[in-house]
Amino acid sequence: MNSPMIYALLGITLFSVGLYGLIVREHLLRKILALNIMGSGIFLMLVALGKRSAGELPDPVPHAMVITGIVVAVSATALALTLMLKLVEASGSAVLHDAPKDRS
């Protein structure tokens, strides 16, 4: 196994760890961190697999996609954080409570 593949596997593991945190942890700030880690995992996989090319340079297209993705991620994070603060102001809790009726 070569090093790009190790990093690609790290990428999917990060995605899964983030997903786990997103499901298990309740605090919204933690969920936002989890989404960021998932994103990093995807970016890592996208770029690492781009290093499989036969030439000396890695594939630049995933690089551009990831830069796009990083900016999207920071935008979403900023929005999520503001929303969280407003929600805490309004409801007094940084945890989303499920009404029992909504459980499915």
Binding site: L19, I23, A64, T77
Partner: protein, 319 residues
């Protein structure tokens, strides 16, 4: 040479291990402050990973945005969270009791299954694949720049970047719509912070200009330059920078939309002249891309700093 390969392999494994354990700790540590600090460390190590993957452009963006600005946003949010209400502890402990063993173990099993499944999928990909490398190489001469990543971002897939500028603006619009007005913080009385600003802000602006300029043929470009500019903005906001109200209305909004606006106008003009959306004439591509990037840098910097503020900025009245 073999010794070097071996050392690098060892380094890779160490790095993978560190990144993974940091991610796990970010998710599992009880203290939120600690989780955020660890997340910043995670971001910095990710920047190192990008260097190992020969992706210096991403390394720059990750260090500035992924670790720096995201971390600053989180820290600021945590700070405001604790000033809103000290309720999180209660809520967390109340919830903790509900968490039975099965609700923690089941997701863990799911996690392992997902890793195994996706891992199997990855390992069955072909060993060697060129992706779009040959296509990029072939068309580099017509792109107007020498850095392949900039060529993809601003030329080959420039339309993605246009839409992405809109995403950034949308996040800001939503934050402004939610956050209401927010007064700029009072001037800091801390002399060190003040002098740090006086030295660092000009340096950051210089670095930003350099990154923007060098992006045409080396790692760098609008996003990296913009995020450095945004960092300078955050520093200024922290130190209690005074901006008069009249600049916060029209001029600020103008800077915020400049990036997407110039992009859209350029796209429309090129559609009329060249008959294609964002189809640059080969000879003029270089300066057109630089123009787009300059506008984008300003907008990205202003937007990131404004996102950090978390509301419609309002000048404080001194005295």
């Amino acid at each position: 040479m073999e010794a070097l390969d071996f050392a690098l392999g060892l380094f890779d494994i160490l790095l993978v291990f560190l990144v993974l354990s940091l991610a796990w700790l970010v998710m599992s540590s009880e203290d939120l402050f600690r989780a955020i600090v660890l997340f910043v460390a995670f971001g910095l190590l990710m920047a190192l990973v990008w260097v190992r993957l020969e992706a210096p452009d991403i390394a720059l963006a990750e260090a500035a945005i992924g670790a720096g600005l995201t971390g600053a946003l989180m820290m600021a949010a945590l700070d405001r969270l604790s000033s809103v209400k000290p309720i999180q502890k209660v809520a967390a402990s109340a919830q903790r009791k509900q968490l039975s063993l099965s609700s923690k173990v089941l997701p863990l099993i799911a996690l392992v299954l997902i890793v195994l499944g996706l891992g199997y999928a990855l390992l069955s990909l072909p060993e060697i694949a060129d992706g779009l490398t040959p296509n990029v190489k072939e068309n580099m001469a017509q792109s107007g720049v020498k850095n392949p990543v900039t060529a993809v971002l601003l030329n080959f897939r420039g339309y993605d970047t246009l839409l992405e500028m809109v995403v950034l603006l949308l996040a800001l619009l939503s934050v402004w719509s939610l956050g209401g007005e927010r007064k700029l913080s009072p001037r800091s009385t801390n002399p060190i912070l003040g002098s740090l600003c006086r030295v660092l802000v000009p340096v950051l602006i210089l670095v930003s200009c350099y990154l923007l300029w060098v992006g045409a043929d080396a790692p760098g470009g609008a996003f990296q330059a913009g995020s450095v500019l945004g960092a300078a903005g955050v520093l200024l906001l922290l130190s209690g920078w005074h901006v008069e109200q009249k600049y916060l209305l029209w001029p600020l909004r103008f800077i915020l939309i400049l990036g997407s606006g110039v992009f859209i106008i350029m796209a429309a003009v090129l559609l009329l002249i060249q008959g294609g959306l964002l189809t640059y004439p080969v000879a003029q591509a270089g300066w057109m891309i630089l123009l787009l990037e300059s506008a984008a840098t300003l907008s990205i910097g202003a937007t990131l700093a404004a996102l950090f503020l978390g509301g419609v900025p309002k000048s404080r009245v001194d005295q």
